[in-house]
């Protein structure tokens, strides 16, 4: 695995946001005319999830999280020298959404901006990239260079509501993570890998240059097991994903621990990509992690793609004592296949409570599939 080790960089803060629309297992039971969805929801650990209505972008969710975080951090926005945006649901095919985020967040023009296109592994890759930016820019100075890492997806926009493999599982979320130089920070260690042969098991086939959008690619038809979707929707072979995760995730976590010089017993929290409840419970047992140190934050959110790790961290620790020092192992894995583990020590992080993004009035959702959360 590719090992990346970054000294003198700390995570200064983290905020996450979800849209104000909720879809529940009751909606699935009605849509699919099948009570099976109650049992499915229980098994996968998702009986309700957050859905971004059409017109709400992942960048909007990330901006909401970033505004909250920057307010609480009280950072001078001119001190931010790079903004990175990890997503598979950018605002436009071109240009990079990160450029729009520089101006939307009122950052200086002396600021690097770039998008990174990754899914379930994206938070760890974003962190690895952001940490190296900080290290490279700081030149050994406090306040030498700060980086804002925005990670979010409105992945449900790729999900056919009539595909039982994906519809009950996914949710939308955004996040913002602030990184800065710190002479006293423990090193952050990353362990990264890829196997492109997994391409066809988790994919949105059409809409890129390889298979451009046509009238036909947008037509939803009946596929395997009667699932209904188009080639512009996401296809997921859950069994293949699980088999891949079993083969790579335990190895990746062990490699991350070994490179950091940690044992699993001294880790205060393991935060994996929140794929689904069955997989997470199995991976926890397999890695022999105590239940109280293994974060599961699926219920109420769903699998939030690249934002699932920061969302789970907000869920777990935003109300906890921030001065407490925590050794965390983060583990992202999924489409690509792509995977990345991180060993990071968090201390005095600013972690605001979960931000609920309010959909502007003009962006009314399709009432049939989502219902606004009762206040």
């Amino acid at each position: 695995m590719a090992i990346v080790r970054v000294e003198n960089v700390r995570m200064a803060g983290l905020a996450s946001s979800v849209p104000d629309f909720v879809r529940t297992v009751d909606d699935d039971v009605e849509r699919f005319q099948s009570e099976d969805f109650r049992k499915i929801g229980e098994s996968i650990g998702v009986t309700s999830r957050r859905i971004a209505p059409e017109g709400v972008c992942s960048s909007d969710l990330c901006v909401a999280a970033a505004e909250k975080l920057l307010d609480e951090l009280k950072w001078d926005r001119d001190s931010i020298q790079a903004v990175l945006f990890v997503t598979q649901t950018p605002d436009y095919p071109a240009p990079a959404t990160a450029c729009t985020l520089q101006s939307r967040l009122g950052l200086s023009t002396n600021c690097a901006a770039m998008d990174i296109n990754l899914g379930c592994s994206g938070y760890v890759y974003g962190l690895a990239t952001a940490a190296q930016f900080v290290r490279g820019m700081a030149g050994g100075k406090e306040n030498g260079g700060r980086v804002l890492l925005l990670v979010g997806d409105t992945i449900t926009h790729f999900v056919s509501p009539d595909d039982r493999a994906t519809a009950p599982l996914f949710g939308d979320a955004g996040s913002a993570t602030a990184l800065e130089f710190s002479a006293s920070a423990e090193p952050i260690v990353f362990s990264l890998g890829t196997d492109g042969r997994g391409l066809n098991h988790l994919i949105v086939p059409a809409g890129g240059a390889r298979q451009p959008r046509t009238e036909e690619t947008g037509v939803r038809t009946s596929r395997e097991s009667g699932n209904i979707r188009s080639d512009e929707d996401m296809y997921m072979n859950g069994a293949e994903v699980f088999s891949f995760a079993l083969q790579e995730v335990p190895k990746m976590v062990r490699s991350t621990l070994a490179e950091a010089g940690w044992t699993i017993d001294e880790v205060d929290g393991v935060v994996m990509h929140q794929s689904n409840g069955i997989m997470l419970k199995h991976l926890r047992k397999r890695l022999k992690v105590d239940e109280e140190n293994f974060v599961i934050a699926l219920e109420g959110y769903g699998n939030a793609s690249c934002a699932s790790i920061p969302l789970a961290m907000t869920h777990q620790w935003s109300k906890a004592n921030s001065s407490e020092k925590r050794k965390l192992v983060l583990a992202g894995f999924g489409l690509g296949w792509s995977w990345g583990g991180a060993a990071v020590t968090c201390e005095n992080m600013v972690m605001p409570e979960l931000v609920i993004y309010e959909t502007p009035q003009c962006q009314n959702a399709d009432d049939e599939i989502v219902s606004k959360e009762a206040a």
Binding site: I40, A239, E240, M279
Partner: protein, 81 residues
Amino acid sequence: MAQPDFCELLDELFELDPGTATSATVLKEIPSWSSLTFVGLIAMIDEEYGIALSPGVIMSSETAGDLEQKIHEMQIADKAA
């Protein structure tokens, strides 16, 4: 280490009455066979036998006996490696 009884494990996983599954049981004809129990089956085999099976191996096994045979072959291959 004693090998677990594969058919008993299948009864448990698929919520069948004890003694229902035999080595002649056709996997895809088990009433509660679904994409979810499929994933459960991969997890169970990993947990009980220490083998992360690819879904293709399960799909190409017609009966419980065929699958058990493949698991044992993989265990032997693992030990030899």
